[in-house]
Symmetry: C2
């Protein structure tokens, strides 16, 4: 069937916790419209609604951090995606730990599995959302995945999002390049 109005149905996507704003008054926002856009150099994007409190923080500083949180912290991630930094000090409310960045003037989240320090290179105004395209300048990994392997990232660790639900990334099915297809 065809939907009467076209809609983007591209899943699963990350449930990424973005930290941004000044070190003295940082904010958090959960973003599902994110991903890698280039491998060399490493680049990514986040799309943010103009009316979100974090929008002007990121627009002005042109910096943000993508934090991938363990799925045990799904309630904290959801809180940061549904409450506004205009009213709430989200670090205080969630108990998450702001840490100084290596290269940026904002903070990263201490409990993250992965934190990517990002510098904005282009902003595209697309309609409901502005798309921030950024260079990834520092990649932090937690001790649990210090070999940068799959181990720390899947199986009850990594938080995905699909049409209104947070979920685990499930068990591996096949490795890339397995070439196990039987020709027909």
């Amino acid at each position: 069937m065809i939907l009467k109005s076209p809609e983007s149905v591209i899943y699963p996507v990350p449930a990424a916790l973005i930290s941004c704003g000044a070190v003295a008054s940082p904010n958090l926002i959960t973003i599902a419209w994110t991903g890698t856009v280039n491998s060399t150099p490493p680049m990514c994007y986040i799309s943010v609604r103009k009316e979100r409190f974090s929008h002007h923080l990121i627009s002005e500083m042109r910096q943000f951090v993508i934090n991938l949180m363990p799925s045990t912290l799904v309630q904290e991630v959801d809180f940061c995606g549904t409450k506004t930094g205009k009213i709430f000090d989200k670090f205080k409310e969630t108990g998450l730990t702001p840490l100084l960045c290596e290269k940026l003037d904002t903070v990263r989240v201490g409990e993250a599995i992965v934190s990517l320090e990002c510098e904005v290179v282009e902003i595209l105004q697309l309609g409901s959302h502005d798309m921030f395209i950024a260079n990834i300048v520092v990649t932090h990994l937690s001790d649990s995945m210090k070999d940068n392997s799959l181990t720390g990232l899947i199986h009850e660790q990594l938080l995905g999002y699909t049409k209104g639900y947070y979920h685990h990334a499930g068990d591996p099915l096949l490795n890339y390049g397995a070439n196990s297809l039987k020709f027909k």
Copy 2:
């Protein structure tokens, strides 16, 4: 720890099967660098290496289809991500079914759970990859998810990708906006 060279580690992402090229000689390519970039109007992106055979097909026609495949077809998806359309007729090799599009001059994949017909509006040359930003002009859903609900999309249906592995989207943990965080 900090990686010596920064790297994009943003997961889980979709393992999307892209159909493109002329109806008489269509091609397939599997893409993980994809996602939603705007909600209203619905817009998405795919990033494609310049040397891939599909790159010039998409550049020239400025059209492509994002097909989300059931995870039972993970071997076909992997085949299309690792073999080149210069040598292989991927529809023939995989046995997947090309269907005419509603609005585009290329094909979609009959076995897909979701097919999004996309018209390119901008191409950004970023380095290793070109980023194709597109309007989603038609959304096809399979009968198994005709209410556009979660049902057809997760639990052994939807195919995710994380650092070299295809996997299921796992069980739901929490719905968006559950606001179940206990204040600290």
